[in-house]
């Protein structure tokens, strides 16, 4: 049994706690949180103890640590946990600062402990089916990738202010998805963005609607479309055109009922938000972490992947500011 300590007890931590306890070969041992009440509630629900973060990291009986705390603590906790010899699964993003993330990456290499970054969408059955079909050569050589990723509604402006901005907080998932599908990072990034969903988001210095185009070394192109608001639900699709066809991953719907009346033919809306849409992805992510740990194999998503996505977010931010494409090497 893999003994697991969980850092953080918020909404996403609970999702991970469920996956850990449901897995036949992992045990949730302890949870920590700056809000003791949250930790106690989660501990009661999943049958584990409440400890301090330091105690969890110091406990030699704990094999792995899952970091689901606020973003500003990620780098520090990754460094502490790997230094203590733990295997680590850390929620995205690695950090809001590319510089800090790179320093963390160096420390982790020194510690020699593997770290996996929680880009859960790679484990979504629909996106991974696309990746498999592409690897199988079912549409030949990839040429043009397009990712549509809309949230159902914007978060509170208070959150926006500390989020690191749309590129680091929201599109970071899509940058990683592009890397996952294309199998390599782009050469340059060109961003267009605006605040038309909510002017307060603009007032807070962020954007809520954005299109980012990426150019690859061999002429491939990818484009990501983000909006903080799709009133019909959580819109998560991608399509990739290849030399021999097109692959699309479409939305999952709440149910398969279709109603035909004088008003038209109506189907269900997309499954609402990430907890519903990606629940099976979180479970598959944890299973992949455990499997790689047990086999002493490379994690399917590495800290380097986390840093690569962050570099793209950084390049997009600069592109938006400078009004021109920015090369990834410029932010390196």
């Amino acid at each position: 049994m893999l003994k697991v300590g969980l850092l953080g007890a918020g909404r996403i931590a609970a999702v991970h706690a469920k996956a850990i306890t449901a897995h036949p070969r992992t045990d949730l041992v302890a949870v920590s949180d700056v809000f003791t009440e949250s930790a106690e509630r989660l501990a009661a629900r999943f049958g584990c103890s409440v400890r301090s973060t330091a105690e969890i990291i110091a406990d030699p009986a704990i094999d792995a640590v899952l970091i689901a705390t606020s973003t500003d603590t990620h780098s520090d906790l990754i460094e502490q946990a790997t230094a203590a010899g733990k295997a680590v699964l850390c929620e995205k993003p690695v950090d809001l600062s590319l510089e800090r993330a790179r320093a963390c990456q160096k420390a982790v290499v020194a510690a020699g402990q593997p770290v996996m970054i929680g880009f859960n969408r790679r484990f979504d059955p629909n996106f991974s089916a696309v990746k498999s079909a592409l690897l199988n050569g079912e549409i030949g050589k990839a040429e043009l990738l397009s990712i549509t990723s809309f949230d159902p509604g914007p978060p509170p402006v208070a959150y926006i202010k500390v989020s690191g901005g749309l590129f680091r907080d929201m599109m970071i998932h899509d940058f990683d998805m592009a890397n996952f599908i294309m199998g390599e990072p782009p050469v340059s990034v060109s961003a267009t963005g605006s605040s038309i969903v909510d002017p307060e988001i603009g007032a807070a210095g962020d954007i809520d609607t954005a299109v980012v185009t990426m150019a690859y070394a061999n002429g491939q192109i990818a484009v990501i479309m983000n909006s903080r608001r799709a009133v019909y639900g959580y819109d998560q699709r991608l399509e990739i055109l290849g030399s021999e066809g097109l692959l699309q991953a479409q939305n999952m719907l709440e149910n398969t009922m279709v109603k035909s009346t004088v008003a038209g033919v109506t189907a269900a809306k997309p499954t609402y938000f990430f907890l519903e849409r990606y629940m099976s992805a979180y479970e598959a992510e944890w299973a992949a972490f455990v499997e790689a740990f047990e086999a002493n194999a490379t994690f399917p998503v590495t800290l380097a992947d986390g840093v690569a996505a962050l570099a793209m977010a950084e390049a997009a931010s600069q592109s938006l500011k400078l009004g021109r494409p920015v090369k990834i090497e410029e932010v390196a």
Copy 2:
């Protein structure tokens, strides 16, 4: 906590064991099976004890019994468990003999203990969305129901021989679905059937392809189409035409990927077989059992529902033999 004893340790019993242990307010206490090894395997996996069926039924600390044994034992076990004061959830069908099922029904009434029959499809989110929309009046008054229900492939002929035949073994689910959607039993049943999938099924005295039409008191009509073989997967759909529209429950697909090549536009196949398609339905079924038990309310599927579906299967058998429609009252 509701203490639960599980009778049977086969494939479907394991599905129920998973639902019982996952439910926050129910405890799987013990399991029994004629094959001790099966019981031990299940007990090890879900952390409960192995006992004899008699011990489980006699244990006053056990509140409820879930019957997932072979069909020929259902009636006896229902009677014993209710006589011992247990709440019962029993897999379908109640019995292969309509007469025996009716005797069981009488005994249960005498015992005064509630029994729920495991017509799990009523809890499928797609079919229950149709039922809700119908109850909401979204398509007016129901007029014409059509149920398509194909298995991916026929079971072994050895199973066919003891199954009670297609109507009692397979279409029994669809008879109950018709009762669920229409809200009342039909007046008469007219069956057409043949053995074209596998001549050995015909040699065993059964059919593998059937269409059953049902007429209702107020002129409504329902039709059920069954085949033991749909090579593309498990085909489970229905549609109901009403005075103000049509409701359809379509298949769930393995994933949402669509591939377009010179060969055409290809989507995933339906989720394969009942364990995959109806997994969430089994969980919802158990939750509904627990909720009704706790609220001392009528179960959402009663023993009377099980007997009603069996009567329709009996009428269909006679219709096929006699070559004419058979009234439900003829088999009463």
Copy 3:
């Protein structure tokens, strides 16, 4: 150029006039109608002369006659036109009386002139794609056919009274479709029907909702579902299960727009009624008539096909009356 005389100048005659004039190798020469005004309007629109039916049939310069008059005149006109040496395309049904249709069939054989019956749905690109795929063996051997055929709304009761009833007037198309897809007539027909859309239809001695099941010599089964009212439009679908798969022909929609809002995901309704849905089928039907005429080949839909469909309608009527399946040979 094939010189064509058109008998009848109503709505369906205008559809044919359009196909005849648009065809590069056919000329609409003359039209007749009991209502002279209708004939004049059609003649003005399509640039042909108005004559009496007798004149058209007698004119040696006219090669072919298209009969689009009221049903009660079909048999007489077929006999007169073939006796006069014309090739004939006649709208369905051949007659309301099976006996009269058979007499007509004899007369036509005696005249030695080919007659095609206007079962236009055989030329619908969707249904003919299913037929082609079936002939190509793409789903193996056919086993179970289901046809859904709902009109958007019932015709006036005055029309119902002279229509010959749902089986001869509406389901006649579906009987022919079953023959087209299955490639042979059924052995027996079993009908269930009622009047729930409009009680006045019942008062007029007809039904508005019906399910007919058909059994074939080698165990195949077909089922037809008809309703006079589908408020969401003209619902024209079929599906056939074979030993190696399923083929479905789905509805054509008014357009491909999909709207997603908080209310759900809404697509367009089916194309409204037969003029829209089957316009291309009427053109393809006429092209097939001309091609067969020019090649001196057998028409793709013969008078025998018309009589076969009528026999099935007759058997369905008797089945509904007698409350039992009726063999086709019983009505022969």
Copy 4:
């Protein structure tokens, strides 16, 4: 009757000839072409005379001229025809040179004769349904438009060399579609492109794959994706996200057949290429021209629209060359 002269007798001219002759209130009088044989073939097929371009333009009995010649003659012919008092429908693009197109625009204003540019896609029932729904406010305020427009395969490199390049030859349609949907031109255009479909296209100085992002005055964004090759057919879709929902125009399919086998669930491919996909759009375009002409109203697509799309193509070319976004006013 509107008397029409057709300049050009190639493939697209034949499409227009069909629409002109099928329209109840227009007459195709004459056709001209530099290849006399082509003109004679078209004249024979549609029943009109062959004349020189000069004769057609000079004939006072001809009310309107449809220009379907090669692009390099468009501006000259527009100027000659309007100077001669004809109403003009000219195929896109107005010219390959933005400067020349603007000079033509001035000459036309001086002539005072209305000119319509043949952006036929505005008349596609699917795209126009999107436009109508947007105007109806069905998804609130438009925010993010995405256009997918892939050809089935690249044209010969010989054609590419004289085409004016992907932006002026192919994406010009999508620039106009963006203007149609958004109702205003963008402020700036940012292009990414490469030659990965066929290196010979790159050698000829053109690209075959491109993504163009456009920013609007009020923060809206549009993105166009083009590829010269989608082996599964002609891929013509768009979607627009608004404050209250999403509108999508999806591909039209060759038929509605769906085949389910062990290999998956397969539907038909998109209708092949523009003649099939946009045939009804060409007819609707001509009807709109005639209606506006008869009502003395502004044409639904003006010469200014043609110049606006060309300016966007010019800006995209410069953006690709300069490696930065280009403002529309920079090319003015």
